[in-house]
């Protein structure tokens, strides 16, 4: 067997393994089997170790083979062609994974971080009622992450992307008995759907241009990072803009940044893995994957760079007034994600990749240690030997007072981004649909002659019914 083949097999195994865990945990829960904490932790540990070994093996085999990339082609779900020759209309919808210098390191990163998180969560969530649910969602997340990282076609990436989004939103709403987490989970879900729609449009556009969604076909020739796009500059700008919106939603770039601090509702390890480490970098990863497209279009590159830079500056300013540890960390995280995106726009692909990996490790550690904030501050004070407060320089230093005040307000209200989206996007949208609802009600009532909807009369009841009042 050649090294190339081994790399392909091991790489594919690394994708299958978390899939098995999802199926296993999911089936057991569906069939109503009560899983013990021990069983769940052991399974997840085994799966992650196995996956990690496979990925490492694939990395070694890939290095030995000397090839820049190895692909696993799962064949086409849909394949369609009409006519012959260069004018033929082709359409192919395929499953394909590629293992190259981009995907393998990020797969390794995903496995290491998910492994640490699941070891952490095994203790942290001990005796929590949602224990199995958490691990099930974590398995879905890991699967989604690995699938989207290794994806060789845009539709495969989309599948993984969706799994990541779904599990993230559900984990934000992990404590579904309180209103806050549910409202915030829903908000995140909404923004994700918006980004997904952009993603789909971008994918359709790419399909339209090249007939299929394979990255290597789209890129033309050369493995990452050396790929060169085959599409024209304007085509790249068109499809790339959609994909940039998708990435912006997923990575909480401006103007979608408002959801990031709201995502800190779940247990600490989920905040760590999603918003410190993996989830928030997924948008940047998508941009890395399509970096040949960005290179092909200078306007697109400028767009990416400036969006990244704006986000970085925005997050750096917004962080200044965050008074809770997790929000501090999440804006710190966002600052770096912005810079990574800017680096991608500038074409610094290796730097962006190294930055992404380093940042994910660092931030995960900081997130997991977030509850230590108070004792860390005391320890630092003791070490330095005085009761020193962190520098409390006033807002913006030398700027005029009015500007300082504005900056403060800007930072405190997180750049008014939520207000902006609420008032100018969500508000009109809801108003429009309320209008439709009213219209529908009118004509159904007119048709029915009279009466109201049955659902109007009944209200949800919140009392406990078990015993007498």
């Amino acid at each position: 067997m050649t090294a190339e083949r081994i790399a392909m097999i091991l790489g594919t195994a690394a994708i299958v393994v978390p899939g098995l865990m999802v199926v296993g945990l999911g089936l057991a829960t569906l069939l109503g089997r009560k899983l013990s904490e021990r069983a769940v932790s052991l399974t997840s540990r085994a799966v992650i170790v196995l996956g990690l070994i496979c990925t490492l093996g694939a990395a070694v085999a890939l290095a030995v083979s000397g090839k820049p990339e190895v692909a696993f082609d799962g064949g086409a779900l849909v394949s369609y062609a009409r006519g012959h020759g260069p004018d033929a209309e082709r359409f192919r919808f395929g499953i394909k994974f590629i293992f190259d210098r981009l995907s393998v390191p990020v797969m390794l990163l995903s496995y290491v971080l998910c492994g640490v998180i699941s070891a952490f969560a095994g203790h942290y969530l001990h005796r929590e009622s949602g224990f199995v649910r958490f691990f099930f969602l974590l398995a879905i997340f890991l699967l989604g992450m690995i699938v989207s990282v290794a994806a060789g076609t845009i539709e495969t990436l989309f599948a993984g992307w969706e799994l990541v989004g779904l599990s993230s939103a559900l984990l934000v709403a992990f404590y579904h008995e309180r209103t806050g987490p549910v409202l915030n989970g829903q908000r995140i879900w909404t923004i994700y759907r918006f980004a997904d729609a952009a993603f789909l449009l971008g994918a359709v556009a790419l399909h339209h241009m090249t007939g299929e969604g394979d990255f290597d076909r789209m890129v033309g020739y050369g493995a990452w990072p050396a790929g060169v796009a085959t599409v024209t500059s304007s085509q790249a700008l068109f499809a790339g803009t959609f994909l940039l919106i998708a990435a912006a939603g997923k990575s909480a770039l401006v103007p979608f940044s408002g959801w990031l601090p709201r995502a800190m509702e779940g247990p600490t390890p989920s905040s760590a893995v999603f918003y410190g480490a993996l989830s928030v970098h997924l948008g940047a990863y998508l941009l890395l994957r399509i970096s040949p497209l960005i290179e092909a279009s200078t306007p697109l590159a400028i767009l990416v760079t400036s969006l990244g830079a704006i986000t970085a500056v925005y997050a750096a300013v917004a962080r200044r007034t965050q008074t809770d540890i997790k929000s501090q960390l999440c804006f710190a995280s966002l600052t770096q994600v912005g810079i990574i995106v800017a680096e991608i726009g500038l074409g610094l692909r290796y730097l962006a990749l190294a930055h992404l990996i380093g940042h994910a490790c660092l931030r995960t550690l900081q997130f997991l240690r977030a509850p230590s904030a108070i004792s860390d501050a005391v320890a630092a004070e003791n070490a330095i030997g005085e009761r020193s407060l962190p520098s409390t320089h006033s807002r913006g230093g030398l700027l005029p007072a009015a500007v300082q005040r504005f900056l403060y307000r800007f930072s405190l209200e997180r750049g008014f981004l939520d207000t902006l989206l609420n008032r100018f996007v969500a508000g009109p949208f809801v108003a429009l649909f309320r209008f439709f609802d009213r219209a529908e009600r009118k004509w159904t009532e007119a048709l029915a002659g009279a009466g109201r909807r049955e659902s109007d009369a009944s209200r949800p009841s919140f009392e406990s019914h078990e015993y007498l009042p």
Binding site: V112, V116, Y124, H126, R127, E128, R178, G180, P181, N184, P261, M264, P267, P269, A312, R319, R320, T321, T323, I325, K326, A332, T335, H355, I357, G358, H359, C361, L362, T364, L365, S372, A373, I374, S375, A377, A380, E381, N382, A383, I384, G385, E386, R387, S391, T392, R395, R405, R409, S411, L412, T419, L420, G427, P428, S464, E466, Y467, L468, P469
Partner: protein, 1084 residues
């Protein structure tokens, strides 16, 4: 979308007619001079100020979380009797007074609650009226006891209809109906039915006509369904027939019965009514804004920027932040900037602003106090923190000006108005003045819904089965009898039932405890102890119930030793600064304010080394901090994370996967920068006054003598001193835990008691102190040496200090004692581990110690230890009264010898003065955090998020969560602490007259108070003003060889037991051997 928002002018002028009329009256009263008007205004302002202070009293009094002090969550209700207090508290806070009824039923099923005790309590409470027969059917006691002991189900109207129609509720009897009763009921129904079939119209009165018509209908229905005629129906058919007849009779009976006036949830704020009417929560946007601003305003050093004009107070800062025009903001608060600017222009004080809002909202004077309280409680965590930071301005890093709470309330009320106006308009199209909003909303809500016929009938239906009331019987009841029955059932409501069940729940443990303390063996032991030989060593621990097991195991392994319990600051209240600390912290109970400062310094010989290390540590500290803060920055963060971020993977994986190993490594590495271990305390002061700086540090010898004398007398150690007396303070070390301080010593104000023990030992060793003591009648032999130590209750390690100063002839003895302590650490860890589900039950002592050490260092561990969970008893008396008793780490043990107290009960008075608030505070905080983990506690730790170094929020933005997290209280049993005090009634009466707090706690029964007579050993407990003799149940305590034999293989709460090896031996030589083999607790 919606029409333009009402402008500020309308909002301000929008007053109710009633108010305007009232003002007009005031204006036209005429005769008042301007001075008198001004005086009246001042008086009104003063009154409002008082009302606001009063409202603040109800807020949580938990301060910044770095120092966690346990206190009664319902401190504001301590003037009421316990049950009244918890019920009133539950009403005010919207929380639960007791556990859910479901839990009590589980306890009934498991035997944790005795049904007999329930009946006894019922009898006691009903007194004479227990035997009164309700509606000719059943004595009141039986009815209530059935309602307590049998689960009666209820439900919504629709749910019940479904249940009756679709389930077998009308086909089969409840499982808990006795067969004889069941067959009698069926039999009577059958006879009634057959009789009715046979007779034709020869009936007496109208109700009979109705009943028999219904019966016939039912017979026909059954005949249709089951074919054959009634005579040949099978048993099950008759069962179903009887049940349906009863159901019909119940429905018929409750029809039209009057309803008791509902005392459901009172809606005080406009927001409550709006929520009820529309389902919209007007507090939500207000909360979001306030949480963010309060966080910024109160922040103690997390954020880099602080709000403008922070020094000028809450209101000024709020105006400076939100008063600017032309900034994009959420629709509901568009008018905010304008109002704020008007306030600023008019120079409104916060009281005026509150008054303006009250007027605008149409709050009547008689509603004002309740309204202000409810408003303050709407975001109680943050509001409470405003009060706390305001009051503790000398303790916090960044104080806020006084009056901040009033200003908070002013802002809150304004935001409430804006939000209400916005939502009333959006949801209801309401444009009128807010003062009239309530009336509109009330109209919309309509009358409260009463229980429906089905709901009421279903209860009677279930009781009818339990008691075997037949349909004929029920149909025969008159209207007034029906009403009586319903009234009787409905007046015995859920809270009332839970109160009774809770009382029974407490009662069982109370009885067991008193039985155990009354055990004759212990009495004999105490009598014998008066003249026992010199012990090999004496060890003094904190009264903390976590030390109970440590002391017990120590006595088991070294029968010749003696242990004592005293509040863990050992009468040494100090501000202390360790060699490695930046600042002083108070080590004493929260109610005290130290007058002395003590610092730790490295011995002169190592000063140079110390200075070097301190420099290194400082550099390291600065580096760490700048890395961690710069990693959040734009540019340096980029460099750090891109260049070196991957290095973080190393600590990330090792700390999570191998916590103990990593901790060891870190500890070894830290030797380079930690201060040397050889240190001394600046404990002695010259003639100057106490101060935080050198000549003022420490105590004068006379002060030391007072402290030592008081401590020794308090715990009754005034004679028979051993050669070694070890004082062991305690604290807890855990990582990644915002509530860390809550695990520390309560008597040291949430600090670690090591320095207090060390200081005490040094004082007691001072020859001048001993000289003074001798002159006062306490003679400490010259060969007695005191040593201070520290017990880490999480990792179960014990360390002693100043050991090098022990005379040579004590060294080997001390080494032996230290060995015993080390062994007991392992044994204690083993006993603790039985409570951790994640620790296997068969751990050896050695493995158990490793396990607890891991817990202390594990970042992912949310239960580093159990804390005070399961605490239930406080014992004040001689150890000989409890020695050898297995108390399962549930008892605070305070040493006190009544024999050396004076006639005035001085000693017991001062002990109780300290112990009652501390132990009851701990106990009640655990009680409430367990009973309502969301309302009173801070629920699960997992989503907690440290905010402003002040406290924790749930997730991204929530109210500041006070109380204890669920992980801390999870294994607790919510019961009031049982105080058992070895003294006489006469003495305690004197104390109660002197000490208001103690009297209130006893009389209002926030603690269960029991007296143990020092001579006779009789137990009397306080009940409604008098002390009632406890009758022993006659149960004999089980005896086990060692503690290990009691707890091995057990996870849950254990009963009291006697430990043979723990009892005071009849006679002992010095250092009788530690029977090591029987304690091994090896896997067997």
């Amino acid at each position: 979308m919606t029409a333009p928002f009402p402008v500020d002018a309308e909002l301000h002028l929008g007053r109710s007619d009633a108010l305007i009329a009232r003002e007009r009256v005031a204006l036209h009263d005429g005769s008042e001079s301007p001075e008198r008007a001004a005086a009246a205004r001042d008086a009104r302002r003063e009154e409002l100020k008082r009302a606001i202070e009063h409202a603040a009293h109800y807020l949580p009094s938990q301060g910044p979380i770095g120092v966690f002090i346990h206190h009664n969550t319902l401190h504001a209700f301590e003037h009421l009797p316990f049950h009244g207090g918890v019920e009133e508290g539950a009403r005010v806070y919207g929380c639960e007074p007791y556990l859910p009824e479901r839990r009590y039923r589980e306890f009934l099923a498991s035997g944790r609650i005795d049904p007999e005790e329930v009946e006894e309590i019922l009898d006691r409470e009903l007194r004479g009226s227990a035997e009164e027969v309700v509606a000719t059917l059943v004595p009141r006691r039986d009815l209530r006891s059935a309602m307590l002991l049998r689960p009666l189900y209820g439900g919504t109207d629709k749910e019940l209809r479904w249940f009756v129609a679709e389930s077998d509720a009308l086909i089969r009897f409840r499982d808990d109906v006795e067969p004889s009763l069941r067959s009698r009921l069926v039999d009577r129904t059958r006879r009634w039915a057959m009789r009715s079939l046979a007779s034709d119209g020869a009936v007496a009165d109208a109700s009979d006509v109705k009943a028999s018509r219904a019966l016939r209908e039912q017979i026909e229905q059954f005949t249709r369904r089951y074919g054959s005629d009634a005579e040949s129906w099978s048993g099950p058919t008759w069962n179903a027939f009887a049940l349906q007849a009863v159901w019909r009779a119940c429905r018929e009976g409750v029809h039209g019965a009057p309803h008791a006036p509902t005392t459901s949830h009172r809606m005080i704020r406009h927001r409550d009514l709006l929520h009820e009417a529309t389902g919209v929560n007007a507090d939500q946007p207000v909360g979001e804004l306030l949480i963010r601003f309060c966080g910024a305003f109160l922040d103690q050093g997390v954020a880099a920027w602080h709000p403008p004009a922070r020094e000028e107070g809450f209101l000024a800062s709020f105006i400076a932040t939100y008063g600017s025009a032309g900034v994009l903001c959420e629709a509901w608060r568009k008018p905010l900037a304008k109002v704020l600017r008007r306030w600023k222009r008019e120079g409104l004080t916060s009281l005026d602003a509150v008054q303006e809002s009250l007027d605008d909202l149409g709050v009547m004077p008689h509603e004002r106090d309740d309204f202000l309280r409810a408003t303050a409680l709407a975001l109680r965590g943050w509001a409470g923190m405003v009060v706390q930071v305001e009051q503790r301005h000398s303790e916090v890093a960044r104080p806020i000006p006084p009056g901040s709470f009033e200003e908070y309330l002013a802002v809150r009320l304004l935001l409430d108005r804006l939000s209400l106006a916005y939502f009333a308009r959006r949801e209801l199209g309401y444009d009128g003045p807010l003062a009239d909003l309530n009336a509109t909303l009330r109209k919309k809500i309509g009358k409260p819904r009463h229980a429906t016929v089905e709901q009421r009938a279903f209860v009677v239906f279930q009781l009818a089965q339990v008691f075997g009331w037949s349909a004929e019987q029920l149909a025969g009841l008159s209207r007034s009898e029906w009403f009586e029955l319903l009234d009787e059932i409905e007046s015995f409501g859920g809270v009332e039932r839970r109160r009774l069940l809770h009382t029974a729940y407490e009662e069982q443990y109370f009885r067991k405890t008193l039985d155990a303390i009354g055990e004759p063996t212990l009495k004999r032991q105490a009598d014998r102890a008066r003249n026992h030989p010199r012990p090999s060593f004496q060890a003094v621990f904190c009264i903390d119930e976590r030390e109970e097991s440590f002391r017990r195991r120590l006595e088991e392994t070294t029968p010749a030793c003696e242990t004592f319990g005293a509040a863990g600051f050992f009468c040494v209240p100090i501000y202390y600064r360790g060699a490695g600390d930046a600042d002083f912290s108070a080590l004493c109970p929260a109610v005290m304010k130290p007058k002395h400062w003590v610092t730790e310094d490295v011995v002169p010989r190592l000063q140079q080394d110390f200075a070097r290390r301190r420099k290194a540590r400082r550099l390291f500290g600065q580096a760490t901090r700048s890395v961690s803060s710069n990693s959040h920055n734009l540019f340096l963060g980029a460099v750090l994370s891109a260049g070196f971020g991957w290095i973080a993977a190393l600590p990330l994986t090792t700390r999570v996967l191998f916590p103990r190993l990593t901790a060891r490594l870190r500890q070894h590495a830290s030797v380079l920068i930690r201060h040397p271990n050889e240190t001394f305390l600046h404990l002695e002061r010259g003639d100057c006054s106490p101060d935080a700086h050198p000549p003022g540090l420490g105590f004068q010898p006379s002060e030391m003598a007072d402290i030592v004398e008081r401590m020794l007398r308090d715990m009754g150690l005034v004679r028979n001193f051993a050669r070694l007396v070890l004082f062991v303070g305690h604290g807890a070390g855990s990582v990644n835990n915002p509530h860390q301080s809550a695990y520390n010593c309560g008597a040291c104000g949430g600090g670690r008691g090591g320095p207090n023990a060390r200081s005490f030992a040094a004082m007691a060793n001072d020859p001048r102190v001993r000289e003074t003591l001798r002159s006062r009648g306490v003679t400490i032999p010259d060969d007695t040496q005191f040593v201070g130590g520290f017990h880490d209750t999480t990792a179960d390690s014990v360390e002693f200090s100043d050991v090098d100063q022990l005379p040579a002839e004590h060294q080997s003895e001390f080494a032996e004692a230290e060995r015993r302590f080390a062994r007991v650490s392992q044994l204690n860890a083993q006993e603790r581990c039985r409570r951790f589900v994640s620790a296997p039950l068969d751990l050896t002592p050695e493995e158990a110690l490793v396990h607890v050490e891991n817990r202390a260092e594990d970042l992912s561990q949310v239960r580093p230890e159990a804390g005070h969970a399961t605490n239930a008893v406080t014992f004040v008396g001689r150890r000989a009264r409890t020695r050898g008793l297995y108390m399962d780490r549930r008892c605070f043990l305070t040493s006190y010898d009544p024999a050396i107290d004076d006639d005035n009960a001085t000693i017991v008075g001062r002990i109780l003065g300290a112990v009652v608030p501390v132990c009851a505070g701990i106990n009640l905080e655990y009680y409430f955090s367990f009973v309502d983990p969301y309302g009173y506690g801070c629920a699960t730790k997992l989503p907690h998020n440290v905010s402003g170094f002040l406290g924790v929020m749930d997730g991204a933005a929530s109210d500041l969560r006070t109380g204890l997290p669920w992980q801390m209280v999870e294994i607790h049993e919510p019961m009031r602490s049982i105080f058992i005090v070895e003294t006489t009634e006469a003495s305690i009466r004197k104390v109660m007259i002197r000490d208001e707090n103690v009297r209130r706690a006893i009389e209002n029964e926030w603690i269960r108070f029991v007296l143990l007579h020092p001579q006779t050993g009789a137990l009397t407990h306080y009940q409604a003003g008098e002390f009632v003799l406890h009758r022993k149940s006659g149960r004999v305590l089980e005896t086990f060889k060692t503690s290990y034999h009691v707890f091995r293989g057990q996870r849950d709460h254990l009963d009291y037991a006697l430990i043979a090896s723990g009892l005071l031996p009849e006679e002992f030589g010095a250092w009788s051997p530690a029977p090591e083999t029987q304690h091994a607790g090896a896997r067997s």
